[in-house]
């Protein structure tokens, strides 16, 4: 095929690095710096010795980096009589977080599903109340809840704390799933009913497999919340199940004692690792999931 010789502008428009493009990156990088500084401070502080910290050079790199604080935070720092660092609470946190996240998501998704496809009289009102519950500071209902759990014999047990997390997670989880399921075509549900699937079959075989994106968001929100929870765990979990944040707090917070900032920071980062890992792993699913669940009215 003969090639016609073209004169004048042809082909793709030459790319120029424009001012606005530079501006975009400038903005993003400065925002990134703003977001990173606290993490940077935490990291370097955790690598310094106390004497170096007392100099007050917040941003200077550690002269003699050492992981001693990390080792101590993980396994040696004392909280009262026991000196096992935050690792003691780690497994408790896992024991609390996994079932709490799972159950609250399961219940939230069932609620959302029922609210989207199986309305009954008053279901919207129930949902309204539940949503209102999202705004109730939980301290407000702490006394009645303690009394309630005492009466059913669950106060101070693993089951009790899981129940509590489930209760407080339910509003937002329900909202998330309800919005997501409402965005699915009604016809899918109708088709399944014509096929003879019942309430649970439709839920487990049709709806659940479709809700992976929102589930990712739900897992992230709930894990972050429950893993970082201190107060509820302390009050409801019972002595045997105190979560990691209790140890973290014992290390970090003190009125009259001496503060070991490097250990504090190491403990802090260690505690945040689990939610951070989930963020990194879920990556793009998070945004995608939000698009699927949270955004639609």
């Amino acid at each position: 095929m003969e090639q016609i010789q073209l004169t004048g502008p042809h082909g793709p428009k030459p790319k120029k690095t424009t001012v606005s493009r530079l501006g975009v990156y400038a903005f993003l990088f400065s925002a990134a710096v703003f977001f990173c500084i606290p993490l940077y401070v935490m990291l370097i502080t955790s690598l310094k010795g106390m004497s170096e910290i007392r100099l007050g050079e917040l941003f200077s790199l550690p002269g003699d980096p050492s992981f001693a604080a990390w080792v101590k935070a993980w396994g040696e720092a004392c909280s009262g009589v026991e000196c096992n660092g935050i690792q003691t609470g780690f497994w408790n946190s896992v024991k609390i977080t996994i079932p709490s996240v799972a159950i609250s998501i399961i219940l939230g998704s069932i609620n959302g599903y029922a609210l989207s496809f199986w309305r009954f009289k008053g279901s919207n009102l129930l949902f309204g109340i539940l949503l209102f519950g999202a705004f109730v500071p939980f301290q407000v209902v702490i006394f009645p809840l303690i009394i309630f759990l005492r009466e059913v014999g669950l106060y101070g047990s693993l089951t009790g704390i899981i129940l509590i997390h489930t209760i407080f997670g339910m509003p937002i989880m329900t909202l998330l799933f309800r919005n997501y399921f409402s965005s699915l075509p009604d016809e899918l549900f109708k088709a399944a009913r014509v096929d003879g699937a019942n309430f649970w079959q439709i839920f487990f075989q049709i709806m659940m497999p479709l809700s992976i994106p929102v589930t990712v968001v739900a897992v992230i929100l709930q894990t972050t919340g429950i893993w970082n929870d201190y107060l509820l765990g302390l009050i409801f979990a019972g002595r045997e199940n105190l979560p990691m944040t209790v140890q973290l707090n014992n290390i970090v917070a003190t009125t009259f004692g001496v503060r070991e900032y490097n250990v504090n920071m190491a403990a802090t980062i260690l505690t945040a690792l689990v939610p951070l890992a989930i963020y990194l792993l879920s990556g793009k699913y998070f945004v995608r999931g939000i698009a699927a669940g949270a955004v639609k009215g």
Partner: protein, 357 residues
């Protein structure tokens, strides 16, 4: 024998009365099309038959059984949806077998039915794909297959072709028709596309605001619309209309009069009333023919060539008139042309009540 029988069906939403005391009998093996413009209640009616909506009053009988309170699955119906509503995470095979498995049917039997359905619909090579890997037409076929495997007496279709492009729509239309001739099930088919309705239906029910306007064969609906709404709704382009008065044997408008000799009035006798005269574009001609009378001459406004035929548009007494002529006709825009009409093919509607005269 009626396959579906709907008695005094009422359906209200909080604020809207969507179906009003609707009665409808559908014969066994019949292909009934529900036709109407958007929002007239077609889907609502279909969902009531399927048991997907709770009705406000009335009864629904399927195969001489009162199913008013039955679950959709127990009504002996299969349904095909506009958006296909395939289960996105399941393969085609799973999509087809899901309902059967839920029912607890034996594996062998499921296999057999899926095989048969996929053979009928020629989707055997697709059985292991997921819906997202199918084209629109293939998806539609799978959706039909899902109803097919259930081995039901009654098929319900809710605008099954309206998401497809024109060509595919035409192809699948023929396939559905063929399927009906093969299976001989009762089929209720919702559409707002009159071509589908006319080509597929044994009978068409034309709906407007939740009420059935006319229930009849396609030919009847086309050639003997019972009122002005039906007359205008069916046919493309729409029927041309002229407002005037019937005086004895003539239709009079302004200074013109058209001899109505040959028109079959429903009520014999003398007529003298205000009326509309309607005439379909294909019953007008631009050259004198046997039995045609000249109406007027007018200037050609627009030409729409469609290959085998051409639609010629005129501005006539403030209304757009269209005439269908053969595609070989040599016409030019802005020219004057004479319009002739065949009075036997005309339609007359009373101005009062807009019913056919």
């Amino acid at each position: 024998m009626n396959s579906i029988s709907i008695k005094e069906l009422d359906l209200k939403y909080q604020d809207a009365h969507v179906l009003k005391q609707l009665n409808l009998n559908i014969k066994k093996g019949e292909f009934l099309v529900l036709l109407g413009s958007s929002g007239c209640g077609k889907s609502t009616l279909l969902n009531c038959i399927a048991g997907l909506l709770d009705i406000s009053a009335g009864q629904i009988w399927i195969n001489d059984r009162n199913v008013t309170w039955e679950e959709p699955k127990d009504r002996g119906i299969g349904m095909v949806f506009q958006s296909y509503a395939l289960y996105p995470q399941m393969t085609v095979e799973k999509n087809l077998s899901f309902g059967l498995k839920v029912k607890g049917m034996a594996k062998g039997e499921i296999r057999e039915r899926v095989d048969r359905a996929s053979k009928i619909l020629q989707i055997e090579p697709l059985l292991h794909r997921k819906p997202s890997e199918l084209s629109g037409g293939q998806r539609q076929r799978v959706a039909i297959g899902r109803a097919l495997v259930r081995d039901v007496e009654v098929f319900l279709f809710d605008e099954p072709l309206s998401n497809l492009d024109a060509k595919l729509r035409a192809d699948l239309r023929v396939e559905i028709k063929r399927l009906h001739q093969k299976l001989k099930n009762t089929m209720v088919y919702v559409t707002h596309d009159q071509v589908e309705a006319l080509t597929l239906a044994d009978r068409i029910a034309i709906m407007k605001n939740g009420e059935i306007q006319q229930l009849s064969t396609p030919a009847d609906i086309y050639h003997k619309p019972c009122n002005l709404f039906v007359a205008q709704f069916i046919g493309s382009p729409s029927m041309n209309l002229l407002e005037g008065r019937i005086v004895g044997e003539n239709f009079v408008y302004q200074d013109y009069r058209v001899n109505l000799m040959g028109y079959e009035f429903i009520n014999q006798g003398d007529h003298d009333e205000n009326a509309f005269l309607g005439i379909r574009p294909e019953h007008l001609a631009l050259e004198p023919r046997d039995g045609y009378v000249k109406l007027i001459s007018a200037k050609i406004d627009i030409l729409e060539p469609m290959g085998d035929e051409t639609i010629v548009w005129f501005d006539f007494m403030g209304r757009k008139w269209s005439v269908k002529v053969h595609g070989d006709h040599q016409l030019k825009w802005d020219e004057d042309a004479d319009i002739y009409l065949d009075p036997k093919k005309a339609h007359l509607f009373a101005k009062q009540g807009e019913v056919r005269l």
